[in-house]
Subunit: 451 residues, 2 copies
């Protein structure tokens, strides 16, 4: 917000060239995880933009001589790694808004936040990705709309509750989040099933339990690859022709009534799903959820109820997904602890909000711009800024020696409420000029009386 | 907060064994960067703790049979990588509190937040670490108190302002942060200097500018390695004996008056430093800052004013540091853009707050615990929870089928204001029981009248 041309402007009109290169070069100063707060002053000449462009593309002809060791002269690629992205201020405002909503919903539901190192031992993830690496990198997909290699995700997990009350609570929290940001049941729904449905079918055909997760991973690809390929993968997993057919028939089931007809009323999966739908009614989100036997989720470790949020227009990939994973802890060598949870990425939801015209208006906002008229009054302006900040007022202090006209433009750009002008004749009386930007009202006031 | 024994309890009494292993196993479910919100139910038997311990150390004798592919059975090391750490709930509350203060101060000063991918091309950082890698990994130090290999950092940078008004504003923001969290000028100070002081000395002894950053890196080690080693390093950088002596004399200077005596009044460094101290007076933080010629900061790219925050008791390493880096952008191939900024790690400040007894009291807080008396009323409890949450009330809904006594204990542990009890006789009348936990007051109320 420190700018004739503030960062948003830079970014809107010159992204991804000038502003991006500048942001990239700052990355260099940061450790792995660091919030960076920024002011960017005007890069006032078009020559500057061109130079910044050159910085990015390495086309600069005349390098400024570097201050330090000679290895500083080599140009390097400043683009973010493929599939990752920078968050310039207006993107960051959006991400902060999204995460603030995630946090508030999690608090509404009495959850607590935890975090982990960004770097982890490879072993922890090789295992997770196990099935993919073995089977030709299925999940190392092309980057598609709303799917990048690095993404941010909201997660809620309930540990230690074996009952489907936990899954019902998790889905309720996601629904609460959707409602909060303006998404309705006509925009989004949840497809719900249970892996125990498949387990039951496999049990009936005496397919070994060790093949279970492999079958789930295959089935997760139902709408992504041709049916013949699905069948071949299932046959390769040693399922008999009859089992494959039965499985595919079950997967096409879209109601609990039909499921009961096919499997009988005594199977565990059915009782749990019925309880979930009954709880959903009490929570008030029945219209959001529907049974769909084809939902299994891609990860190997789910053991029971699975669900995914989907865009009803069918344009986007899954918005979120989760389920029960009662046996994950034992894979680390301990006893089983019942658990369920979900992941909710930040990318698809933003696409959906764009589609629906629901992106919030998040312009930069500061209450005061404080500007001195002349370099000898810069200290006085600092004093005024400090007083206002002590009172909790946000202040963008003009650090450059600029004319008043410039300060007015800046105040407009950062949506300031007031412009505080420190001029010599007023300052001698311990006063400053105030301009209310919405009304144009203008007056002088003692510094101590500024609120 | 979902627990007879809620996460804080688990962690206080069993960290780093049981709870840590459980947290670690959850890490497995997450992408690189993800806030995770968690509820952990009681792990009620000591056997469970033992098992969790075993999960961590791999000492478990009887493995539960895994659900999926056989490679799930192998145990893996679940410890976080050396030098990194997990953030269980109470650590996370502290980090969130700290970062909330960082954010609010940055907003007070009219800054905007930006962010970068966690993963970066190696080239971007090899350059940054250039001097260290060449010179035997000086900065790959032992992990010490308040210094880990992964850390979180608050950064503020001002781009495009060549004047020292920018540095003055940055130091003001850090002082504002300190005051806000209860740290005073008698706890912490800033040592300030300018690299231009050294530059001036080197210029007088016609030391080539290309050696400048190397000399700075050596000088940054002044209080860390023996003086003879410093001298040898400077001699190795081709400084004459006389230049070395003059340099070391200058570095011992602790006042601007003395600096002026030694270098004369016309040097650029002196004018800038004087302006900074004059602005500090106007901002009102004079008592926080002092000139100290030995401060150069370790990174190669600083070009002017440098500063670092220090603990006046001298027990901790630098709390924060920053300075001007007007020529960083040109190292990426563009033109120079004036810039300055600071980094403020999250580890040393926490140590300082502990030392001073200033750590905030951040217990878990939820307004309501809602509990049903009997499994058939679980849906009714869900309905009550949903109503309260719609009204913005935070609710910890009991998902387990537990006796009332258990719910009371839980309400006490999560510092709930009210316990809402859904019993069958009240529910038939559309009512619930309310117990105000501070006063012990108890009454029945219609669900719709709950506020």
């Amino acid at each position: 917000m420190r700018a004739v041309i503030h960062p948003s402007f830079l970014i809107h009109y010159h992204y991804p060239s000038a502003a991006s290169a500048l942001l990239r070069s700052l990355r260099y100063r940061l450790p792995l995880a660091a919030p960076l707060f920024l002011k960017v002053k005007a890069l006032s000449t078009s020559a500057s933009y061109a130079e910044l462009d050159n910085a990015r593309t390495g086309r600069s002809a005349s390098l400024a001589s570097p201050p330090a060791s000679s290895d500083f002269t080599q140009k390097i690629d400043v683009n973010p790694p493929k599939g990752t992205r920078d968050f310039p201020p207006e993107e960051m405002r959006l991400r902060s808004w999204l995460f603030q909503n995630f946090r508030e919903v999690s608090q509404l539901f009495g959850f607590e936040e935890v975090d982990f190192p960004v770097l982890e031992s490879e072993a922890l993830f090789v295992r997770k990705a196990g099935e993919e690496i073995k089977d030709q990198c299925w999940r190392y997909e092309r980057m598609t709309r709303g799917r990048r290699r690095e993404h941010y995700q909201w997660n809620m997990d309930i540990i230690g509750v074996p009952n489907v009350t936990a899954e019902a609570e998790l889905i309720s929290s996601i629904v609460t989040f959707f409602k909060r940001i303006g998404i309705t049941a006509s925009d989004v729904g949840f497809k719900v099933s249970s892996r125990k449905v498949l387990q039951e079918v496999l049990r009936r055909y005496t397919v070994p339990e060790s093949l279970f997760s492999r079958v789930c991973v295959t089935i997760d690809k139902l709408e992504k690859i041709p049916m013949d390929d699905i069948k071949n993968e299932l046959r390769a997993a040693e399922l008999s022709e009859q089992a494959v057919e039965e499985l595919l028939q079950i997967l096409a089931v879209k109601s609990l009534e039909e499921l009961e007809e096919k499997l009988g009323s005594s199977v565990e999966a059915l009782a749990e799903l019925k309880q979930l739908f009954s709880l959903a009614e009490k929570y008030g989100y029945s219209e959001w959820i529907q049974f769909d036997a084809s939902i299994v989720r891609g990860l190997a470790y789910y053991t029971g109820i699975v669900f995914e949020g989907f865009d009803r227009e069918g344009k986007l990939r899954a918005i979120c997904g989760g389920g029960r994973y009662d046996r994950l802890l034992s894979t680390f060598g301990g006893e089983d602890v019942p658990a369920c949870g979900f992941g909710f990425g930040d990318a698809v939801i933003i696409e959906l909000l764009k589609e629906r015209g629901l992106l919030p208006e998040l312009s930069p906002k500061v209450q005061n711009v404080v500007c001195s008229l002349g370099q000898d009054l810069q200290g006085a302006a600092s004093l005024v800024a400090a007083r206002l900040r002590e009172k909790g007022q946000t202040v963008d202090l003009v650090l450059e020696n600029k004319p008043l006209k410039w300060a007015f433009k800046r105040a407009a750009r950062v949506n300031a409420q007031r412009l505080i002008i420190v001029g010599s004749s007023e300052w001698e009386k311990g006063m400053v000029g105030v301009k209310i930007l919405s009304s144009g009202e203008q007056y002088e006031i003692k510094v101590d009386e500024l609120e």
